[in-house]
């Protein structure tokens, strides 16, 4: 039942056949396995957003194939009968609060499931549950979505996608423009959903700390090409390469590299604050002893 997504030699041109034609994806091969957490990183304009629009067939490859579960999407695929894919793969776009339109928050969250044939009553029950999942207060549900604060709107929009009960949840910079606490809460929500509902997660982000903390597969995009793919540890093991591609390091890893310059040593480069602390504590106490 689980939905595998496989890209094979995917190319995509925007406005193909016009003087404005631009190639946005070049020969992408990629696999997203059920239950995985894939982080997509890369500079602005590197093709990240184009890539994720292929995940639920909003865009069809100009050449090559995308396999979503048992459906194969290529340039010839007709637009009809793509709807079931949209339920399997839910996409939370950048600034998703721009999709809110209903009179009340709860109606907006219930909008998606009703498009897939869920009755209004059932959809409202579902919406209430999802509002709880994302931490929206019940008192807000009867208000207009446009009365909410930025962070609350973001949650309402995410709940609207979760209400589709997708198997794969795709998030395009879900924490952009939120305060540190809002960011942490959204990321915690994503991890919890992944664990509780066994969701597959695809996350576009510029926050390397999030990549280090949560992802188990990292995809690096550059100028429409997939330029590197691996575990966070593999990706962050080459700071020179990252710098050349204008990508950063997680803060713990960055600190470790800097400490390395001044004599500390690390068996493996730490990715998270905990790993850094674990390796640093013994060295610091040794240092303390030798000074005495």
């Amino acid at each position: 039942m689980a939905t595998d997504i496989t890209f094979e030699q995917v190319n995509y041109w925007y406005q193909a056949g016009t003087p404005f034609a631009v190639q946005a994806l070049k020969n992408i091969d990629l696999q997203i396995t059920p239950g995985s957490f894939t982080a997509v990183i890369g500079q602005t304009g590197s093709g990240k957003s184009t890539l994720i629009q292929h995940l639920n067939a909003l865009l069809k490859p100009s050449s090559g194939t995308v396999k979503i579960g048992d459906r194969i999407i290529n340039s010839e695929t007709k637009n009809k009968r793509l709807k079931p894919l949209r339920k399997k793969v839910g996409i939370v776009f950048q600034f998703p609060e721009n999709q809110l339109f209903e009179e009340t928050v709860i109606k907006d969250i219930a909008f998606g499931p009703q498009n897939f044939g869920v009755s209004e009553a059932d959809a409202l029950v579902l919406a209430k549950r999802m509002a709880g999942e994302v931490g929206l207060d019940e008192a807000l549900l009867k208000r207009s979505p446009f009365d909410l604060s930025g962070g609350q709107m973001r949650r309402a929009a995410i709940a609207g996608v979760l209400a589709l009960e997708p198997e794969v949840l795709v998030l395009d910079e879900p924490t952009a423009g939120l305060d540190p606490r809002g960011r942490l809460e959204i990321m915690q929500l994503v991890t919890r959903l992944r664990q509780e509902q066994n969701l597959t997660i695809v996350l576009i982000t510029h926050q390397m700390d999030d990549v280090a903390n949560y992802a188990n597969q990292v995809v690096v995009m550059g100028h429409g090409e997939l330029i590197k793919q691996g575990t966070p540890r593999e990706i962050f093991s080459d700071p020179k390469w990252l710098e050349n591609h204008q990508l950063g390091l997680p803060s713990a890893t960055k600190m470790a590299y800097e400490l390395q310059q001044s004599g500390f040593s690390f068996k493996t480069m730490p990715l998270t604050v905990e790993e850094l602390a674990d390796q640093l504590t013994p060295q610091l106490s040794e240092g303390a002893i030798s000074h005495e």
């Binding site: 016009t18 003087p19 909003l58 709807k83 776009f93 721009n98 339109f101 446009f146 609207g160 589709l164």
Partner: protein, 266 residues
């Protein structure tokens, strides 16, 4: 959205691209006015040759223009059919009840189609080769004599350039919203009329809300930078009339006078 070619700007350095926007505006208006004077083979020939010469001078392939016509294809077919069936007079070729295909009907259908295509193509040359802001500057400059009558030319020009500037932004935004709603299971262009109208609401409401928010942000940003409406504003882009403009103007005036001459004095 990306398929809409009509009204797009295509960067370049051709003869037409380098013309003063005022020249292009005046020439286009003259051309459109004279299209309505054309009434026989020779006048249409001159109009067509002039148009094709201008297309060639714009250095944009003709097929790009043709693609720009495509969205209006059904409108053209519809207009032609109306003319064919309801333009009575002359020799009758075919009749069925009140539907009549007559010589005059066919003639006027041909003329209307010809005018339609010529007018759209000449305006397309203008929009393909002129940046929206240049068009706004050109209009402002052409309207400036109206200042004497206290007509708010500067305000009008600002409104025009803001509106033109945000057409692509709004189109991008509409596409983003459509993608988001599609992902929530909205089927655009499916079902009956009622169903289709219902699918517009989830696009229009966010689009309007965003447009209003953006308008507020823009006015704040403009005020923060000391914007003041009205007289005495200087321009970053200066319009300059070159010899190329005069030459083009002469070519147009001569050809268009020939059309009017052929109509009345042949």
């Amino acid at each position: 959205m990306n398929k809409v070619m009509f009204g797009r700007f295509i960067p370049g350095h051709s003869w037409v691209h380098r013309l003063d926007p005022r020249a292009k505006l005046v020439l286009s208006f003259l051309y459109i006015a004279v299209v309505f004077f054309a009434n026989n083979f020779w006048t249409y020939l001159i109009m067509t040759v002039l148009l094709l010469a201008s297309v060639a001078a714009s250095a944009i392939p003709l097929r790009v223009y043709i693609r720009g016509l495509m969205p209006l294809f059904w409108l053209m077919i519809f207009t032609v059919l109306i003319q064919v069936f309801f333009g009575a007079g002359g020799h009758v070729y075919w009749q069925w009840g009140w539907l009549v295909v007559s010589q005059d009907g066919l003639n006027s259908a041909g003329l209307i189609l010809m005018r339609f295509v010529l007018i759209i193509l000449i305006s397309t040359i203008l929009t393909f080769t002129t940046e929206p802001l240049e068009i706004a500057d050109g209009i402002e400059s052409l309207l400036s004599p109206l200042r004497k009558f206290h007509f708010p030319v500067a305000t009008l020009a600002l409104m025009l350039s803001l509106a033109l500037r945000f057409v692509p932004t709004l189109m991008d935004e509409a596409e983003k919203i459509m993608n988001a709603q599609r992902s929530r299971g909205v089927d655009f262009g499916a079902g009956g009329l009622r169903q289709r109208i219902k699918t517009i609401v989830p696009i229009l409401i966010p689009l309007f809300v965003n447009a209003f928010n953006r308008a507020i942000e823009i006015s704040t940003a403009m005020e923060a930078r000391g914007y003041q409406d009205g007289e005495g504003r200087t321009k970053y882009r200066q319009l300059k009339w070159h010899r190329l403009d005069t030459v083009s103007l002469v070519i147009y005036v001569v050809s268009l006078s020939a059309v009017i001459g052929l109509r009345y004095f042949s």
